[in-house]
């Protein structure tokens, strides 16, 4: 079921609330500031945003301005486009027949966008960061695609409302735990976050984040949190039964589950060191990919074996 067109801005507001929550969560979990109380931390995203709004928009010498702007604003746009198909309490802004593919198509678009964000600045560090993203994407994208396939196969549909409805008895996370974990890892991958923030590595002066400043940087950083939020929303719909739950209304259940997943994603940042693409590529292709394929087989047998 879909809402009318005017709900598009509402969906955007909802996504941005989750985005802000992610930023606040990250600040709260930061252990770096000694003696900083709760108020010190909760307000941090506000101060960071104020700082970037006030900062001048710097460029570099001979940048590729068009691609650079595309790269810095793109991740936020992609997150918003992902959000329109994510159901909240059983209903989304739109519910296309190919909802799962819609999500997948936009996460692939991020290959180009992150690369542009690095390339456009005409700086060595940005360029290295952009190519690091491509290398990293080669490692996570195929496992992600098979992880997305698992719930679609189990539900026998690519329409998200039907995927959610198919989980009325058992959530797909029970049948497909590997796919769920791979999906979460891939979300941090396309959000350039935590263990998969190799493209924004400190060793190359923050890589894709090395050159953007002012409002460009604000858009890019907001886009990063928004991607995490959209990923958490999708994980809830695909694996955690969407708005299913006792007593509380569906939209509230969806919201709570999204928050829980988001908290896990944000917390991953401080738990692990960066997984460098050159080191994890082999593991991604030789371990993760076969695992997701076996997972897909298990789901297929469970779904169609009985009938």
């Amino acid at each position: 079921m879909s809402y009318p067109v005017w709900t598009v801005p509402v969906a955007a507001v909802v996504l941005m609330s989750f985005t802000a929550t992610a930023a606040v969560l990250d600040a709260v979990l930061d252990s770096a500031r000694r003696g900083g109380g709760w108020r010190e931390r909760v307000g941090r995203p506000v101060w960071e945003a104020a700082r970037l709004l006030r900062q001048r928009r710097r460029t570099t010498v001979a940048p590729d301005a068009l691609l650079w702007r595309l790269g810095t604003s793109g991740p936020l746009v992609v997150a918003l486009l992902m959000a329109v198909v994510i159901p909240l309490g059983g209903r989304a802004v739109t519910d296309p027949v190919v909802g799962v593919v819609w999500f997948n198509a936009f996460d692939v678009a991020l290959w180009l966008l992150w690369w542009c964000a690095g390339w456009g600045a005409n700086s060595v560090y940005g360029l290295v960061g952009g190519y690091r993203f491509v290398a990293q994407a080669l490692a996570y994208e195929l496992p992600l695609m098979f992880a997305l396939t698992a719930p679609a196969v189990a539900a026998g549909s690519l329409r998200l409302s039907e995927v959610v409805a198919a989980q009325d008895r058992v959530w797909f996370v029970v049948w497909a735990p590997v796919a769920f974990l791979v999906f979460l890892l891939a979300v941090t991958g396309f959000s350039v976050w935590g263990p998969l923030s190799y493209p924004a590595g400190w060793d190359v002066a923050a890589g894709v984040l090395a050159e953007p400043s002012g409002v460009d940087r604000l858009l890019l950083l907001t886009g990063r949190y928004a991607l995490l939020a959209a990923g958490a929303g999708m994980a809830t719909a695909l694996f955690l039964g969407g708005g299913a739950g006792p007593l509380l209304p569906g939209w509230l259940w969806s919201g709570l589950k999204i928050l829980a997943v988001l908290a896990v994603l944000v917390a991953m940042r401080r738990r692990l060191p960066i997984l460098r693409a050159d080191r994890v590529m082999k593991r991604a292709w030789l371990v993760l990919l076969p695992l997701t394929l076996v997972q897909l087989l298990v789901v297929s047998v469970l779904t169609y074996g009985g009938s």
């Binding site: 500031r33 000694r34 700082r51 709004l53 001979a62 005409n122 060793d203 090395a210 060191p273 960066i274």
Partner: protein, 394 residues
């Protein structure tokens, strides 16, 4: 105006700071790091993200030039300050943060004529001698027949790569202003893609480099702190900032006046966590192997030489730091040494040998791995008084 003042106040609560550290200013650096935490500032990795540039120590002429280049890349509002006396760090940082708001910024913004601004409008007006590299010193001259390109930049040249292809060679200068990087070190690397083919390292001196290294001496706590300082830098470069921060806290405890048993128990927690981390081992295992023979040949002493007997990779070196730090805190001496990095041989300081070894092992690695290898040796530029150029080719 009202909105401006309001934004100013909010923004000033979390200033981002870029540190330009000169050799011989370790005490001032530690005081600065401490002062930054007090005002709620965060250290950043790139000038584009910085509001405040803090010059730590007295830079020499070449370093000052590089700092000037970096300063021109701060977007603004921006403030520049200098910390020389560790005792004055707090006041200097507070004054700098206060300077971020107010009318002075507006006036400064109007006076600015940055190359990156004109570069966008008149692409061919750029003067090749003034092209800013990202870290200041991009030496674009001396490339033979390279053709000038828009913005005064030069085109890359080509050379055979390791797979028998012909690829662009780009000369990248790392340092002297770079986060978690040995103070004043400049590494000029020829890279193909992101594979390092040639390394040329030197230390850009401070105004005076006659002072002995901050870390030298017989004090066990200070030696332990030196290892933890190195370890924190390595962890930051590996990409585990939260853990690097925890190690810095233990380092500060070692330098403080608290009981040794307390420092040791904190160290034990970090030690356990690091040794158990499988993902950290993925990042450092088998990387930059220094064999015992090579260690002897290059006069490497200290923890790096001991680690050579234990596998000799980056993992062995950070484990050796942990072991040594605990040993010196417990009052045991893990091996004869003058400073925490060894004693050197003849005129050659321990750090000079470490830098030499690191440069040799960096060749053939990609940028990320090369930086990790360098960080795992962590030569102390305070020990390398004279700039000795060394060149290593593939």
């Amino acid at each position: 105006m009202v909105v401006d003042g309001w934004l100013d106040r909010l923004a000033a609560r979390r200033p981002h700071v870029l540190l330009a550290i000169t050799p011989g200013a370790t005490a001032a650096r530690l005081a600065t790091e401490d002062a930054l935490v007090d005002v709620g500032a965060v250290v950043t990795a790139s000038p584009a993200d910085a509001d405040v540039l803090v010059v730590v120590g007295y830079p020499g002429e070449e370093m000052a030039d590089a700092i000037g280049d970096v300063w021109r890349q701060l977007p603004g509002p921006r403030v520049r300050t200098q910390v020389v006396d560790p005792a004055a760090a707090g006041a200097a940082i507070r004054a700098a943060v206060a300077g971020l708001s107010g009318g002075g910024q507006r006036a400064e913004a109007l006076r600015r004529h940055d190359e990156w601004r004109t570069g966008a409008d008149h692409r061919n007006d750029g003067d090749p001698d003034e092209s800013p590299g990202h870290r200041g010193h991009a030496e674009h001259g001396g490339h033979g027949e390279s053709m000038p390109m828009p913005g005064g930049l030069m085109m890359a040249e080509r050379a055979d790569d390791r797979d028998g292809l012909k690829l662009d060679v780009l000369e990248v200068t790392l340092g002297p202003v770079l986060a978690d990087w040995p103070a004043g070190l400049v590494v000029t690397a020829a890279v193909q893609g992101d594979v390092v083919r040639k390394v040329d390292a030197r230390v850009v001196g401070a105004e005076s480099t006659a002072v002995p290294s901050f870390w030298d001496g017989a004090d066990g706590r200070r030696r332990a702190a030196a290892h933890l300082d190195s370890l924190a830098r390595l962890l930051a470069v590996v990409g585990w900032p939260a853990m690097a921060q925890r190690v810095r806290v233990v380092r500060d405890a070692a330098l403080g006046a608290g009981p040794v048993s307390d420092v040791r128990s904190r160290l034990a927690v970090v030690d356990r966590r690091l040794r158990r981390s499988r993902t950290l081992r993925w990042a450092t295992d088998g990387l930059g192997v220094l064999t015992p023979q090579m260690a002897r040949r290059l006069d490497v002493t200290g923890p790096a030489a001991r680690a050579a007997d234990d596998g000799g990779d980056v993992t062995a070196r950070w484990r050796c730091w942990l072991t040594d730090a605990d040993a010196v805190l417990a009052g045991r001496d893990p091996g004869p040494a003058v400073g925490p990095r060894g004693r050197g041989r003849g005129d050659r300081t321990a750090s000079a040998a470490l830098l030499d070894a690191a440069c040799r092992l960096m060749v053939g690695l990609d940028l990320a791995a090369a930086r990790i290898v360098l960080a795992s040796f962590d030569p102390d530029p305070d020990e390398i008084a004279v700039a000795v150029p060394r060149r290593v080719e593939d």
